[in-house]
């Protein structure tokens, strides 16, 4: 299965698929039968190194003796979902090795370029070959031919621009599978070019047709056909599962707050009670009160965070008052004038402690190094921002894309789906996007069909009456 997933790894957005089509076309001819099995492939993962690691861990757990039976189950439970630091480095190294797929991407680009060039040059060749080979025998062809030359020139120019737009746009992602529709279109192009060449070869070259105008018209028709196919590319917008997955990933990076594994766990006190090696029987109450403890821990934590946050805000506000932008009229000693970096360093000291404590309480300290804080401070000072604007980044967890590239961790995502990933997106499709330490489960829902009807309201129809209930004495 890994073999299959690697070969079907030639999938790109748009134009790159051209080459892969041709590539796949060739492979199809070689081993058509064996490929049919891969169509039914359900899940596409390039995570081969992952499996053996897990097996090692689980067997290690079973070797312990019976007294530790409780802990064994718990430990192996966690090992399936959390991987230690060593394993991460090992996995990333394997990811690097699988980067040899990248050179296949370049291969794909070059093949795409070759096919495009071939398709581009064919009409020119059609028109030039008669001139070169049997010039003397040709009928003279005046104005109509020149008109046709001009039209061919412009159409080829448009084709060139379209192909450039398709090829030289950087792909947003590396798709595990090829597009079916684009594959069909590329096969169509290939067949088109081949059939035109065959026709040309047999009818025109062999028989040495005299009518040059006919030849030129033939070339024009080929260009038209290519243009039509080129525009077909833009229309094929049917969203497949893998393209939807990429779109979702993009939006996840900028819409969702960043994933902080430290925030997911129960506070240590509660967790340690559950995970102790001995079975604790409390004879008095006999009830599990850990929920109570959890509640109080939460409340306490909440209070602590708010206190630290208040301290931080005050410290930052105060620090910002020490800095003032130099106005032209002010006469200042040149020694006292600072550039933003120095200004930032000067006021950083007063807020550093409060900042550090706050970050530690909210478990954000791995996301912000001191250098990054200083840089952000410098940035805010340069742009005359308020302390509140400076703090925005630290008080709320922002989307993943806001942080430094290291925090994005791997761009290596695995798409796991029950249906083949090139299927169209339908209502109720569920697929999973996995990364090393967490996964996103995506389920799709179709927006209902809206039936809009109109109703005209005459502005003069807005009339009102009083609701009376008067009482009169008689």
């Amino acid at each position: 299965m890994d073999n299959e997933s690697q070969y079907s790894g030639y999938s790109y957005k748009s134009g790159h698929s051209r080459s892969s089509r041709k590539h796949r076309d060739r492979r199809d001819r070689h081993r058509s039968k064996s490929r049919d099995g891969s169509r039914g492939d359900k899940s596409v993962t390039i995570q081969a190194p992952g499996e053996p690691l897990l097996d090692n861990e689980s067997t290690r757990g079973d070797e312990r003796d019976d007294n530790w039976g409780e802990t064994t189950t718990v430990v192996t439970g966690t090992s399936e979902h959390s991987i230690s630091h060593d394993d991460i480095t090992r996995i990333t190294k394997d990811m690097e090795d699988s980067a040899h797929l990248d050179c296949s991407r370049h291969l794909g680009v070059s093949l795409a370029g070759a096919l495009a060039l071939l398709a581009f040059l064919t009409p020119l060749a059609f028109m030039l070959l008669p001139q070169l080979l049997w010039r003397e025998e040709l009928e003279p062809c005046g104005t109509p031919c020149e008109g046709l030359f001009i039209s061919v020139a412009f159409k080829l120019l448009i084709l060139l621009l379209g192909s450039w737009a398709l090829f030289f746009r950087r792909p947003k992602a590396f798709f595990p599978r090829v597009f079916i529709f684009r594959a069909l279109l590329m096969v169509l192009v290939f067949l088109l070019v081949v059939s035109y060449w065959l026709f040309y070869g047999v009818r025109i070259l062999d028989s040495r047709d005299r009518n040059y105008q006919g030849v030129v018209q033939f070339a024009v028709s080929l260009v038209d056909a290519l243009l039509l196919v080129n525009y077909r590319f833009y229309n094929v917008g049917h969203l497949s599962i893998q393209r939807a997955a990429v779109w979702i990933l993009e939006n996840y990076y900028h819409d969702f707050p960043v994933y902080n594994p430290a925030l997911l766990n129960l506070p240590k006190s509660v967790l340690s009670k559950k995970m102790s090696g001995f079975k604790v029987y409390s004879l008095g109450e006999g009830r599990d009160n850990s929920h109570n403890e959890y509640y109080y821990e939460e409340a306490e934590h909440e209070r602590r965070v708010r206190k630290r946050r208040a301290r931080l805000v005050v410290a930052v506000e105060e620090a910002f008052t020490h800095i003032k932008r130099l106005q032209e009229e002010d006469q200042k000693n040149p020694r006292e004038i600072m550039d933003p970096r120095e200004a930032a360093q000067a006021i950083f000291a007063s807020m550093a402690r409060a900042m550090q404590k706050y970050l530690r309480t909210t478990k954000q300290q791995p996301y912000h190094t001191m250098e990054s804080i200083l840089q952000h401070l410098e940035f805010c000072i340069t742009h005359d921002m308020t302390p509140k604007a400076f703090l925005e980044r630290y008080l709320t967890a922002g989307p993943t894309i806001q942080y430094h590239k290291d925090r994005w961790l791997a761009k290596q995502w695995t798409l796991v789906s029950e249906e083949p990933v090139t299927n169209g997106l339908k209502d109720g499709v569920v697929f999973v996007l996995k990364r090393q330490d967490f996964s996103l489960v995506v389920s799709t829902k179709k927006i209902p069909f809206f039936k809009l009807s109109e109703e005209f309201v005459d502005p003069k129809s807005h009339k009102f009456v009083m609701r009376l209930q008067s009482e009169t004495s008689v």
Binding site: L468, Q469, E471, T472, S473, V474
Partner: protein, 109 residues
């Protein structure tokens, strides 16, 4: 069926207040059973006045005044019909919830 007498102050007064009318909002009427009833109802009866003396009660619906129909009149028309200067005696045709129930009971038994 009641008969009232007018007493003279400076004006001829009857000693009660009315509410309702086709130009009024019937849902705010506390006395009517059917909230779409736009008839004229007695909302207050002054103590010792001619109305009380004659036996008019609060919550009565006035059906006719001296032969004039009161079920489909505006509040102001009703007032006018009741306070005509040249009339000293006003005869009202009145209906009452308790009366209705009594009639129903007697019919059933």
């Amino acid at each position: 069926i009641e008969i009232h007498k007018l007493r003279q102050g400076d004006n001829l007064i009857l000693g009660f207040s009315i509410g309702g009318g086709i130009d009024q909002d019937p849902t705010q009427n506390p006395f009517s059973e059917d909230k779409t009833d736009k008839g004229i109802y007695v909302t207050r009866v002054t103590e010792g006045g001619p109305a009380e003396v004659a036996g008019l009660q609060i919550g009565d619906k006035i059906m006719q005044v001296n032969g004039w129909d009161m079920t489909m009149v505006t509040h102001d028309q009703a007032r006018k019909r009741l306070t005509k200067r040249n009339e000293e005696v006003v005869r009202l045709l009145v209906t009452r919830q308790s009366l209705q129930k009594a009639v129903q009971q007697s019919l059933m038994s």
